[in-house]
């Protein structure tokens, strides 16, 4: 275990240094922009996204009825992670005006459909679970 660990650390540090070496001829402007994006991801997650998710969870755990929390949480997990994964195509940015073979789908409409489907699952999934549990209890 000790040997494996040491080898992993050595390999990891070597890879990391190689990555830094590959940036040796980047200009100051490029490095500043890179640093902004590197730090931006961490700040956006730790200071905005994660607290927001905690807040949503806190409210949901107090507002939602028993039995609908798990389907709601699952729907939220899938909706949230997929929305972030698909964020680039939802921005309307990118592509080129003279090329209609790229970004050729109604992404926002598709996202609304995805959202509605998951919202219905969150609502109905809970009701079904409650009914099952009521049937068991009686």
């Amino acid at each position: 275990m000790r040997v494996v660990r040491s080898l992993l650390v050595l390999a990891g540090v070597a890879c990391g240094l190689w990555g830094v070496w590959l940036m040796r001829d980047f200009t100051r402007e490029q490095l500043t922009s890179e640093a902004f994006w590197l730090a931006g991801g961490v700040v956006l997650h730790d200071a905005v996204l994660a607290p927001l998710v905690v807040a949503v969870g806190y409210v949901a755990s107090r507002v939602l009825p028993r039995g609908s929390r798990r389907p709601a949480a699952m729907a939220f997990l899938i909706w949230g992670t997929l929305t972030i994964a698909f964020l680039p195509v939802l921005t309307g940015e990118g592509g080129k005006a003279d090329n209609d073979t790229i970004l050729g789908r109604p992404y926002v409409l598709n996202w609304i459909v995805l959202t509605v489907v998951l919202a219905v699952y969150a609502a109905v999934g809970g009701r079904i679970r409650r009914r099952i549990s009521a049937a068991r209890a009686s």
């Binding site: 275990m1 494996v4 660990r5 992993l8 650390v9 390999a11 990891g12 890879c15 990391g16 240094l17 190689w18 990555g19 830094v20 590959l22 940036m23 402007e29 500043t32 922009s33 890179e34 994006w37 590197l38 730090a39 991801g41 961490v42 730790d46 994660a50 755990s61 028993r66 039995g67 609908s68 798990r70 949480a73 699952m74 997990l77 899938i78 949230g80 992670t81 997929l82 972030i84 994964a85 698909f86 964020l87 680039p88 195509v89 940015e93 990118g94 592509g95 003279d98 090329n99 073979t101 790229i102 050729g104 789908r105 992404y107 598709n110 459909v113 995805l114 809970g126 679970r129 549990s133």
Partner: protein, 394 residues
Amino acid sequence: MRLPTVADVERRMPRPDDFGSRARGTALTARVGSALGIAFMICFLTGLWSHVQYATPAWLTLSPHPTQLYRWTQGLHIVSGTAAIPLLLVKLWSVFPRLFIRPPRGARALVVEALERGSIAVLMAASLFVLASGTLNIIGWYPWEFSFRRTHEAVAWVAIGSLLVHIAVKLSVIRRGLGEPIDDAADDVDPADVDPFDPTRRSVLRGALLASGLAVLLTAGQTVPALRRVSLFSVRPGDGPQDLPVNRTAKGAGADRTALDPAWRLEITAGDRTMSLSRDDLLAMPQSTHRLPIACVEGWSRNATWTGVPVRDLVALVGAAPGGDVVVRSLQTKGAFASSLVVGNVAKDDRTMLALELNGETLDIDHGYPCRLIAPNRPGVFQTKWVNRLEVTT
């Protein structure tokens, strides 16, 4: 009224125990983390392979075989990167309370803690960076000042390096977590405290894997033909002139006028020997037809049927032996990759050709009319369009 002191702020800050969800836990983190680690490794290795196509080290000779190799590796690169996004988000969620662990006492412990947190910060920053820059590259949006290709590569090395360090540091925790059952041990919790309908570690694990799979299904249609209709969020729906998408149009390349000029000729040179051919001359030569993919770095790919003249027949016209390197130049005046190098190993393959037809029709101008290079196992950016010159260099 007084300003709050550090101690006041500290008292107000949440502690790891304040996060109530029972769904978090080492058993979940280790499992999601393992899946994420595998996705990152696949993404890293396929990414390295792609960079090798751009800057080939001297010890490596690129081969035209297997025909579909780059299509597979680059498709896998984008698929594994896409799959990693939900996994990374759930992984970060599962350990978020640990951000609020108070620093330990004692100088030595403090240094160890700082090093560990530092390595995690680097891992997190680099991971988010490669995923964000990669997905933005797919849609062709570059809201930054750095070079995408070089920076994406450099930061990927940092990401994988800090991942290896992270695995080393957490090895015993990972092993313990994977050994623990994903479900709560029955004697672990008081049943009176438990809402049986709360999310559990098992349901979050399932949700993370499901989200990851959905992210792939909903985008991978741009490289997996069977998923075309399912992939509601793919950047390349797969349509285009002659049933093939386009990365750069003739207009975008500044080649739309010159490509249609009747005076267009293909120049072939080897040393001081030169040859000039019209499109009719090319059409009069023996044609060959092959099914070859266009496979782009953005992860979209599509097979097509190409008809044209093998490059080795063309270089033979100026007396060059097959097996020499060939530089292919384009009419393109705007944007990168106006020329490409076909190494001898690929140039002598009988499927490497200047295509005149695509899927049974005269090549569309956006696909490179009057003629374009098409070769097996080659990234799309090097399948040079609007070709007007072949130079045998060796």
